[in-house]
Amino acid sequence: MSRLRIFLSSSIFSFKAQFHWLNPPMWLTMKFVLSVSQMAFFVFVGLFIAGPEAIPFIAIGNSLQSVSWNTIFSVISITGHDKWDGTLPLVLATPASRLPLFIGRAMIHILDGILSVAISFFFAAFLFGVNFAQTNVLALTLTVFLTAFTMAGFGLLIGGLCFHLRNPMVFANIFTYALLLFCGVNFPVQNLPQIIQPISYIFPLTYGVTAARNAIAGATLFDVSLLLGQQLVVGLVSLMVGYFFFQLFERTARKTGKLEEL
């Protein structure tokens, strides 16, 4: 919710104008505070309800989920930002292929997302005592990277779906929070009602979270490869669907001339 307000104010105003005061030290502070407080919240809730065994599960889950703020939110805000700024028509007018264009822009957020996960792992280890001693570094690194990448693709999907809305930020907010419920972040997917469980597997994060837990417990790259493969597929599908929606939207906009208003 707090992030919504940050991003809402920035989507209403120009991004740069808003952040002129946000010097690097402050940005870093925000990053640290936000990720640790969400993790702390759920760790304590988990501790209270399910006992100390829940802590590593929840801490790792939240660490991976922190990637979603940067990826989903940011990808949507890129396109939302373009819309508000009035530059989107110009951007879409260039013959450059859309896909690399958006991926290029998303890249910085993917990297930012990976950084968030790293910071969260740091907190998980030193504040909440999660044991990283058995970690298979290669497996974990690849998992984190792939999760960030596929979640960016997922962000594109959401961006494409709610592009025509007046307030895409609200949806971004809903989705980022929904991940906490559906992706096995705070409890296994099996805890959810049977009917709902399939939904979890639409999100690339679901696979990433499980793979990360396994990798930290010592699973090798080979062990997690199935999960990562599934994640990649889901991620690519959302990327393509998202891309399709953008194309569709663009075509509609050209027909109706409604680009600016939307």
Binding site: M1, A40, F44, I49, A50, N191
Partner: protein, 270 residues
Amino acid sequence: MPEALRVIYSAFRMAMLHWFADPQWVIPNIIAPFIFTSVALTLFKDSTGPFGLYAVLGGGMMGMWGNTLYASGFAIEMERWQGTLEEVMAAPSKLLHVVAGRSVSNAVFGLTNMLAVFLIAVLVFRVQIEVDDPLLFVTTTVLTLVSVSTLGLIFASAFVLSRSTQVLTNGLETPLYIISGSMFPIALLPFWIHPIAYVLGPTWGVDAIRLAASQEYLSQTFWQGFDVNTAILLDVVMMMAITLAYAGMAVVLFKVVEKRARIKGTLVEA
């Protein structure tokens, strides 16, 4: 004095008008509490104990507070962008009264958020909420709301001066949920956090609300050895004392902020 009330009411009315103009803004305020509550409730499904009460009350608290504390910041930001903040500050009325009026409207929305979370918990998650003493429950809820609103006034004074303050305090939201013991007992937290928790008025309010809802909670309250009603009373007294202190601070802060804004001229940009 009546003039102050008139200003407060007018600001309240203006805030309500804006809400009716854009009711969809209520959604962001419910999402986090709803999700957090759902997570807690799903975690709780296989366990025993008073967790249900904690989860639902906790979520309700979050729904109530998120809106109350930070909506004023957002509203001030909107006013700054619209150019009306300048004009409001140029008027003879005290800014404190204007913001207080808005806080009241936020409190009202906070209550509706709380109700929404409760409804979802009962209907979707089939949590059984039995309230031992409904009258006390409602009273303590309203009083806690007052306490949170007053705390929000203090934040609002900082928002007037600068945008950066607003974003900084946004980051305090989740920590506040943690420290106030809304979704889990403070006892779980590291000992050094406890003093901070007890300085916050709402912490006592949450305790009182829980006691009013369920006698069972008596074993976990701060006031060991007292009976339920006494414990509730003690909680309320603590909370109101702290809230009065907040109110005093708010009065001073607004005077300071107004003067500073007049010196620095940072109402339009910042």
